[in-house]
């Protein structure tokens, strides 16, 4: 019993970062109806940036979030301004191919810059743990969960309470309507893509203390983000949040019930069922 409880706790802790990744993807999709196939690769660039800051300047990954989120924000905004904005009205397939191209570029430039060997950020507290009753909490994972949660909450408040946030939500609800009332749609799109990318950049930094990564990790992370938003509901922020926790727990339980290397299969099977019976996702509205 403790084993399963432990697995659920570990899954929830990991699920926090998944939620943050998926929030970024969901925001981009919700506003622009574009699926960011380069999501995981943007995240990997965030990871490498954190790694680089840690090894050269000794900056703690929880601090370098500020840098990585900003840098990946700029990357996302640049991709939006330079590429995505030209194909907003193109068929979905074309948008997917374009983003797939961006993903290949980001992954392989990372490969050229950092090589194929797995990297990780070895902080002094990497192996620290503490106990709550019978359950072990891994310190970096718990910290990551806390920060991810705080960032998700901050994003939610930003979207709900600020003028910029309201503009973004208006553009997501009704692009034409937002244009009619004089919203600077280009600015909103750039901002939304940037924020979505910034979220995943921050999520990347947050994962470095416990997840070894290579340039090809990006693809797995992109797929993980897709799974989360499809399960939770495309374009729904609450869905992305709940979906992240759910996928974290299902992977963690899958690792205990099956073989650890088969853990993703639980998520994929869950995904297939969701696609078939509730394609709008658990918390999504109508498609």
């Amino acid at each position: 019993m403790t084993l399963y409880l432990q697995a659920i706790v570990n899954g929830l802790l990991l699920g926090g970062v998944y939620s943050l990744m998926a929030l970024g993807l969901s925001l981009i999709f919700g506003v622009m109806r574009v699926i960011n196939f380069a999501h995981g690769d943007m995240m990997v660039w965030g990871m490498y940036l954190s790694f680089w800051l840690f090894t050269t300047l000794g900056v703690d990954p929880y601090l370098s979030i500020l840098v990585t989120a900003t840098a990946v924000f700029v990357l996302g905004a640049g991709v939006q301004r330079g590429l995505v904005t030209r194909i907003l009205d193109a068929p979905h397939e074309m948008q997917i191919l374009l983003m797939l191209g961006v993903a290949l570029i980001l992954e392989n430039t990372a490969l050229m810059a950092f090589g194929p060997d797995p990297r990780r950020v070895n902080t002094s507290y990497a192996l620290s743990t503490f106990w709550l009753g019978p359950i072990v909490f891994d310190l970096p994972r718990t910290l990551t969960f806390g920060v991810a949660l705080a960032l998700a909450l901050a994003l939610y408040l930003f979207l709900q309470r600020t003028d910029l946030g309201r503009m973004i939500r208006a553009a997501a609800d009704n692009r034409t309507g937002a244009l009619l009332v004089g919203t600077d749609i280009l600015k909103v799109f750039t901002l939304a893509f940037g924020i979505g990318a910034g979220c995943v950049g921050a999520a990347g930094s947050l994962m470095t203390p416990f997840l070894p990564f290579t340039p090809s990790t990006g693809l797995a992370l992109t797929l993980a983000s897709f799974n989360v938003v499809i399960i939770g509901g495309m374009g729904s922020l609450l869905g992305a949040f709940v979906g992240g926790l759910l996928v974290g727990v299902s992977e963690s339980l899958g690792a205990v019930l099956l073989v650890p290397s088969l853990k993703e299969i639980v998520t994929f099977v869950l995904l297939v069922f969701i696609l078939l019976f509730r394609p709008q996702g658990l918390l999504g509205g109508s498609r």
């Binding site: 191919l97 290949l104 088969l262």
Partner: protein, 320 residues
């Protein structure tokens, strides 16, 4: 009619004598071009003509390559027969995925994601099946014998891959000229409207999927006996699905010559970046695929061949 047969015969004659006159690295390049053009042609049926983008064709490829190899290793069955067993299994898999996806009305991104998920499940399962060699992969012993699909030298592989490509192109050409081809294009252009006009969209999408999967699986057998090594993380990976898909898209999906032209361009570009920048910059050639994909989407959204053909037509029209 003669005007079209003449150049065709000339190209055929050149392709037959060509391998005897070129060095072996050029032979490799051409084998690779034919073989990826073949896979692209298979993908083209579903993704190009029927407009159902699949990003999971690695699954059928893997089923085909592993089935033929395992049957040959354990039962001594010739891959020439085993490849059809692989094709049958791939068709069954495609009908499973297709029925689930089409039946439940998954389109666009949702269908793409279903194909990705299916291929990923296949990859994860293959990694855990001891008979397929798991993480270590499956090695095929080299025992040259045409009946075992194993040949000495490159020239037999050249002709086998050329034959595969010619056969697949003929099949796609026949389909495109048939009623089925017209239905598939109608489905691609407007699925609801063609359904309204009485096209059994589910049936024709399933047919296109089956044919596409079977051809892809046969190609997998060729790969197994050209590389002599199979590993789930390469054969069944998402990257491999991208490899299969990118050539017809760059060349022009939904046309016969598109996948062939696309494959030729990509092989040339790959070869160029390999010789120009040496092995030290792993990833550069794939990064250039990425650039190419972006450029094609932004500037040649219909692919290189249709753009080129349209340009030539305008040119000859202006001359007249």
């Amino acid at each position: 009619m003669m005007r079209r047969i003449g150049p065709g015969l000339l190209v055929g004659a050149i392709l037959v004598v060509l391998p005897f006159w070129i060095p072996s690295n050029w032979q490799n390049l051409l084998i690779s071009t034919f073989y990826y053009a073949y896979l692209g042609q298979a993908w083209n049926l579903l993704g190009g003509y029927a407009g159902q983008l699949s990003l999971g064709h690695a699954a059928f490829f893997g089923v085909g390559s592993y089935t033929a190899a395992v049957l040959a290793i354990h039962l001594g069955l010739s891959p020439w027969i085993g490849m059809f067993a692989g094709a049958v299994l791939a068709v069954l898999l495609s009908q499973g995925i297709g029925y689930l996806g089409f039946r439940f009305g998954l389109r666009g991104f949702y269908f793409i994601l279903l194909t990705v998920a299916a291929a990923e499940i296949c990859r994860l399962v293959a990694l855990h099946l001891p008979i397929l060699g798991g993480y270590t992969g499956l090695f095929i012993q080299f025992r040259p014998d045409p009946w075992r699909f194993q040949f000495k030298g490159k020239i037999p592989y050249y002709f086998v891959s050329l034959g595969f490509l010619a056969a697949a192109s003929a099949i796609v050409w026949l389909v495109s000229r048939s009623k089925m081809g017209a239905y598939l294009v109608a489905i691609r252009e407007d699925e609801d409207a063609s359904e309204g006009l009485g096209v059994d969209t589910l049936r024709y999408k399933m047919l296109a999927y089956a044919l596409s999967a079977a051809l892809t699986a046969l190609g997998g057998t060729f790969y197994a006996y050209y590389q002599f090594y199979l590993q789930p993380n390469t054969v069944l990976s998402l990257n491999h699905s991208v490899d299969i898909m990118i050539r017809p898209i760059v060349g022009g999906s939904g046309t016969i010559l598109g996948p062939i032209l696309g494959s030729f361009l990509l092989e040339l570009m790959g070869e160029f970046s390999r010789t120009m920048f040496a092995a030290s910059t792993a990833g550069l050639s794939v990064a250039m695929y990425g650039v190419l994909l972006v450029v094609v989407v932004l500037f040649l959204p219909r692919g290189v061949y249709p753009t080129l053909a349209g340009w030539m037509r305008r040119k000859s029209g202006a001359a007249r």
